[in-house]
Symmetry: C2
Subunit: 234 residues, 2 copies
């Protein structure tokens, strides 16, 4: 079915947002917030947070604003994912969506705003979503799991300081497999991007672990990608 010849192509920005939340057994797994569509087309279906691109707003800023308005949070990591533009991905009008993906701090996400039209769901067991949004989230998951293996982004789920065990739990949750604590420690230290804070986390009935901080200035030239900012727009 051809589109109306006078309908202009519309440009939207959407964001796939990831945070870690405990599942029913208490182990952290990936969750993502969705919004309920309140108008046609696809009214009532859950969809990615997003909206039309304002003429004077940067793409990345639009993604961050969307994130903030649906979760109340600021992204700790934000990157362009892909642009989806199939002619038939939305009925009636041609819609090209520039999609971003974001990581937010998990303990903040636990207290994130939610309402009747915002719902967090486990990213690996999605319901049927509006448009091609299932496919988009699956692609974002693929990218996240790939990128965690070679880029230092896992700390974006955590706060300013963290223990190596906490960091390892993030990797294990994202990659869905357990990692050797001893080797994990050495790999992280060898990367040269962790700085000891000098403090330890006390209170547990065992040896108190050191607290680390991610060193943003230690990113080497080889590993740096174009267009990557230290602080995403908010």
């Amino acid at each position: 079915m051809p589109l109306a010849h006078d309908a202009p192509t519309r440009l939207a920005v959407s964001t796939v947002i990831f945070a870690l939340r405990p599942d029913s057994v208490g182990r952290p797994v990936l969750w993502t917030p969705l919004v309920r569509r309140t108008r046609e087309p696809q009214r009532g279906f859950w969809a990615l947070p997003g909206g039309w691109l304002p003429p004077n707003e940067e793409l990345e800023v639009a993604a961050a604003r969307t994130l903030r308005s649906t979760t109340g949070l600021a992204p700790k990591y934000l990157e362009q994912l892909y642009t989806f533009g199939e002619v038939d991905r939305s009925p009636e009008a041609r819609v090209v969506s520039v999609v971003y993906w974001a990581l937010v701090q998990s303990d903040e996400a636990a207290r994130a705003t939610a309402g009747p039209n915002v719902r967090w769901v486990p990213a690996d067991t999605l319901p049927e979503l509006a448009f091609d949004h299932n496919r988009i989230i699956e692609y974002a998951l693929w990218r996240l799991r790939n990128k965690v293996e070679y880029a230092q982004i896992a700390h974006s789920f955590l706060g300013e300081t963290f223990t190596l065990a906490e960091l390892r739990e993030v990797y294990e949750a994202v990659l869905q497999r357990s990692l050797d604590p001893a080797n994990f420690r050495r790999q992280m230290i060898a990367s040269g991007r962790l700085r000891e804070t000098g403090e330890r986390l006390a209170g547990a009935p065992h040896r108190p672990p050191k607290l680390y901080r991610y060193d943003t200035s230690a990113a080497t030239a080889e590993s740096r990608e174009p267009f990557m900012r230290e602080r995403p727009a908010s």
Copy 2:
């Protein structure tokens, strides 16, 4: 300077095209075709091939069509690169460009159409281009050089059959360093994606090398990325 409030955001598709051509010393290096802008803004400057997105055309098809109209060629590899949408990247109007990158067969590119408004230039020593196109090509180069190291795309510069020496020359030209022929051979064979044709390339004053063919069906599930097609749209 704010944009006119009634000017809609426009959507364009551009393509960074790479082929290998001999430099002055005869060694293959990366070249890319540019088109001269014949209207304002930036009239007279060289720019990436591209144009406005037709309402009923797929993004990838638009990229392939652009490629064909400027070079007369069909892409052997075509992938979305990034979407550039900075508010001020084009004067007067907000333009969001979905940029693709493509690899074309080098011996075909040698006979490619060129005219007063199409020029091939070495990709590593670009003149000053229109808009942000210098930055776009530099990013495409970065992506190409990264991806060649972990994905099997180098054969896209070659014809149906090729020798391991020819394939190695592609890698050397893209990565700008020489590779050990013995180890290169073993790595390629070990990848399991090359098939012997049973033929050899005769005529040179030395032992005739075997001819190989790239086996598209041998791509494993682990290495496959979403949205990758065997045959790009043309």
